[in-house]
């Protein structure tokens, strides 16, 4: 469905060029649910803007449904439904008018606009607010209306750019229930960008993107297993000493240890016949509490994007 080959986007600026997307390649199959997971500014939105022909790639190609995006932008757009990161409704129009105008811009005939529009409002729980101005809607309702609008022209590919950003937990859950329902019923391809790990966890495949590059890609399970089979979390009064000791004893852990106040967590060092119990017993420091769990995407994410990296950037931010 999506084929990106050596895709790059460089923003020209007087103070020096900025590379937002740096030579990324990925492909998404028909009906697949694919996620881009990455921090803000990683290049997620820029990639999407190239997929819908709002931005021209500096290098590389991207095809959707075997159509080159640069060569036939309108044919590609006809196949895409997109939910933007920021609101994009006209709040001075009613819910129905927003759908109606969208349908006309996508060349949908009047009869289909009516049946599909009514059906989608019904499914998304907005039927009774059909003729109300969008400015009277809550954040969650606006998001649901945007989903209805994105589906109105029966796209083959649904692009969700941080679809639950700024929503309360209840609305977030409701938005996801609707997205999963649509996927189940219609079976369309979904391309998601997010920095919520639990959202990426439900997708078929995840690409972790950082600084414009894809640093890891695979099914959520695969990524977790590649990291380690077990994660160890320790609570101690002397976290610095524990970290130093761990690095000396297991050099492989370099860059994989996270320290938050008195809590130290790390994956079990691979390739050694060592049980968590052995490791704990060997520690020459008192430990208040220890737990062993399976790695989650959070661990994978931090492993690949680097907690040290984040520490540096926040320090830079503090300095005057």
């Amino acid at each position: 469905m999506i084929e990106a080959r050596h895709l790059s986007k460089v923003y020209k600026a007087r103070k020096g060029d900025r590379t937002a997307v740096d030579d990324i390649s990925f492909s998404v199959g028909e009906g697949e649910f694919f996620s881009f997971l990455g921090p803000n500014g990683a290049g997620k939105t820029t990639t999407i803007q190239m997929m819908v022909a709002l931005l021209k790639p500096t290098k590389g190609t991207i095809t959707i449904d075997s159509l080159d995006v640069v060569a036939s932008p309108h044919e590609v757009r006809q196949r895409i439904g997109i939910i933007f990161q920021d609101p994009s409704l006209d709040d001075r129009l009613t819910a129905w008018e927003n759908l109606e105008f969208h349908g006309r811009l996508y060349g949908i005939d009047a009869e289909s606009r009516r049946t599909r529009g009514n059906f989608l409002l019904e499914v998304l729980g907005l039927a009774d607010r059909k003729d109300d101005l969008v400015r009277t809607f809550s954040g969650g309702m606006k998001r649901r209306l945007e989903i209805a609008r994105g589906l109105l022209h029966a796209p083959r590919l649904l692009i969700l750019d941080e679809p639950t950003l700024g929503l309360d937990p209840h609305s977030r859950r409701s938005v996801w229930e609707h997205i999963h329902r649509v996927r189940k019923e219609v079976g369309m391809t979904v391309f998601l960008t997010t920095h919520y790990l639990e959202e990426a966890d439900s997708s078929d495949r995840v690409a972790i993107i950082n600084g414009g590059k894809i640093v890891a890609e695979g099914t959520p399970d695969r990524l977790k297993k590649d990291l380690s089979s077990e994660m160890l979390t320790l609570e101690t009064n002397t976290p610095e000493k524990v970290v130093t000791y761990l690095l000396e004893s297991y050099p492989k852990l370099s860059g994989m240890i996270r320290k938050e106040e008195e809590i130290v967590s790390f994956p079990m060092p691979s390739g050694e016949a060592l049980s968590p119990w052995d490791l704990l017993r060997a520690l020459p420091f008192p430990i208040r509490e220890a737990s062993v769990r399976r790695p989650n995407l959070d661990d994978v994410f931090i492993h690949y994007t680097g907690s040290e990296l984040k520490g540096q950037t926040s320090e830079k931010g503090v300095r005057p």
Binding site: S88, G107, A154
Partner: protein
């Protein structure tokens, strides 16, 4: 019920239908964007009433105050003398079109701010269609505003024939199209509506003051006469004044050709610039 639901979902299953020809898509897009702007104007009654008040202040307070001192401003088509308020009236009709049309530019900045512009830009239609829809929408709104003022003509002892009222409409449309294009031209690259408002004041007021809406053009200092000739609104005001009162400065041909040229240039420029903007 479940069967009906299943059927409805099946409507949404992607069948990449062939796109309509580009022209059909663009025309539908232009119509849709135009209709949206018109609906928004009618919803915004406060703006509609608010922009009705400013011209009244000019007509009755400025006009009423200056009128006794100004004497005859010319001879009307029917041979009577034209008072200052009657002279001012066409200028104020033009002003109300000018001010409303300039708002179309801010509308495009607003669309950008609230994100609706993105929704339009990822739709399968050309950017040229987006601009034309915006220009037509803004121009329609400004002509509606101007017409509300135009309806006051009996109060100023003016008796234009139906043909001349039609001419007045045509002029309002031309001013509306020109000024909406100017507004969009300035608004295309702007990301803040406040910044746009400040910029617009530097554009609207000189256009208005130089146009001869408030004073006759026949005894101007040379530099002012020059500047006035470069102002598209000058020709609009002149032609409106000719249509409504019979008094004029330029020839009808000069007025129409200049208006048309300005309109074409500004519309083309805004289309070109919008196509180049990311």
């Amino acid at each position: 019920m479940t069967e009906e639901k299943a059927l409805s979902w099946s409507v949404l299953v992607g069948k990449s239908r062939p796109l309509a020809p580009p022209l059909t898509r663009d025309l539908m897009g232009i119509y849709t964007l135009w209709q949206r702007d018109v609906i928004r104007l009618w919803r915004d009654r406060i703006r509609l009433v608010g922009s009705f008040i400013q011209p009244l202040l000019f007509l009755f307070i400025l006009g009423g105050g200056l009128s006794p001192r100004m004497g005859a401003m010319g001879v009307t088509g029917s041979g009577g003398t034209l008072g200052y308020q009657g002279f001012l009236f066409p200028g104020i009709v033009a002003m109300s079109v000018l001010f409303t049309a300039s708002f179309a530019g801010v509308a495009i900045v607003w669309d950008r701010e609230v994100g609706f512009l993105k929704e339009v830009l990822v739709a399968p239609l050309s950017r040229t269609a987006v601009v034309i829809g915006k220009i037509l929408g803004g121009a329609t709104n400004s002509v509606v505003q101007g017409s509300l003022i135009l309806l006051l003509f009996p109060l100023f002892h003016l008796h234009p024939s139906p043909g001349r009222i039609l001419l007045a409409f045509l002029v309002m449309i031309l001013i509306g199209l020109t000024q909406t294009s100017v507004g969009i031209l300035l608004g295309v690259r702007m990301t803040s509506s406040q910044g746009f408002m400040v910029l617009m004041n530097f554009v609207i007021l000189p256009l208005f003051f130089l146009s001869g809406a408030l004073y006759p053009l026949d005894r101007l200092p040379p530099w002012l006469a020059m500047a006035s000739r470069a102002d598209p609104l000058t020709y609009g005001v002149d032609l409106l004044r000719r249509a409504l009162t019979g008094v004029h400065f330029h020839s009808m041909l000069t007025d129409l050709v200049s208006l048309g040229l300005f309109m074409g240039t500004m519309a083309t420029l805004s289309v070109v610039l919008f196509n180049k903007t990311d």
